[in-house]
Symmetry: C2
Amino acid sequence: MEIREFTDADWPQVWPILRAVIQARDTYTYDQDMTSEQARVIWLEPPPGQTVVAVDEGGVVLGTAKMGPNRPGPGSHVSTASFMVGPQARGKGVGSALCRYALDWARSSGYAGMQFNAVTETNRSAIEIYKRLGFAIVGTVPGAFEHPDLGRVGLHIMYCAF
Amino acid sequence: MEIREFTDADWPQVWPILRAVIQARDTYTYDQDMTSEQARVIWLEPPPGQTVVAVDEGGVVLGTAKMGPNRPGPGSHVSTASFMVGPQARGKGVGSALCRYALDWARSSGYAGMQFNAVTETNRSAIEIYKRLGFAIVGTVPGAFEHPDLGRVGLHIMYCAF
């Protein structure tokens, strides 16, 4: 598996991954009716941020990540990142590898830390990865995520200081 | 003082308030080089949200607020709001009145609560108002705000359940 910068030619493989994650409605606070064009605007992070893909030896996109400043102006020294892994590629370390990549990118870009603003508290596999890589839960907004099966569950704010 | 919906004719009075707050760089994570056009896009909340102004008897705009869903999709049942008060109008209850208005609006619109994502921990007067109106600090991201005089200070996440 290789992680490299996104190019336009990747979108036909990236969009189905995003669509599957968005339509499952169990992890991201994205509008489930989002079109390919709307998703592209949200997922392609402009400089100084970037969007990457994790590809296997055959060129198949397994997952994708975007990273950049979490907030503008006086908040721009803290980074954020988002990760999505295709349904067929889960449980193989793709999410961990993307998160490690994003942390390396943010550290070498001079950010002071990385913040996740809305981690669904039932997304245990992701939370486990984040904790293993140095993130702690800063707080939890109760009931802030409407889960399709579990009803309203909390959203964690997580932070990793560099 | 009356609080009413923003109209286009208010912008010449609203923009100087925003500019003063943004350029002070001590409360909001907005880009200090923001133009009037960029600020307009950020401050004018599209439906189902709204933007309002607080005006005195002479039609002078004292402050402004925007309110709407905090996140799309599975997070859209939680509201958020932002408030700005002009330098000349501070300490007169304008911020409190705008916050009370936003809470009433969110409650009557059926939201489950209101979340503030980034309250600078040194903005004590605002935090005091929010606590008095029912908000609690969910957590604090350490050093996430670069204050022009105080260096890096924390950003609170605050929440008020309805």
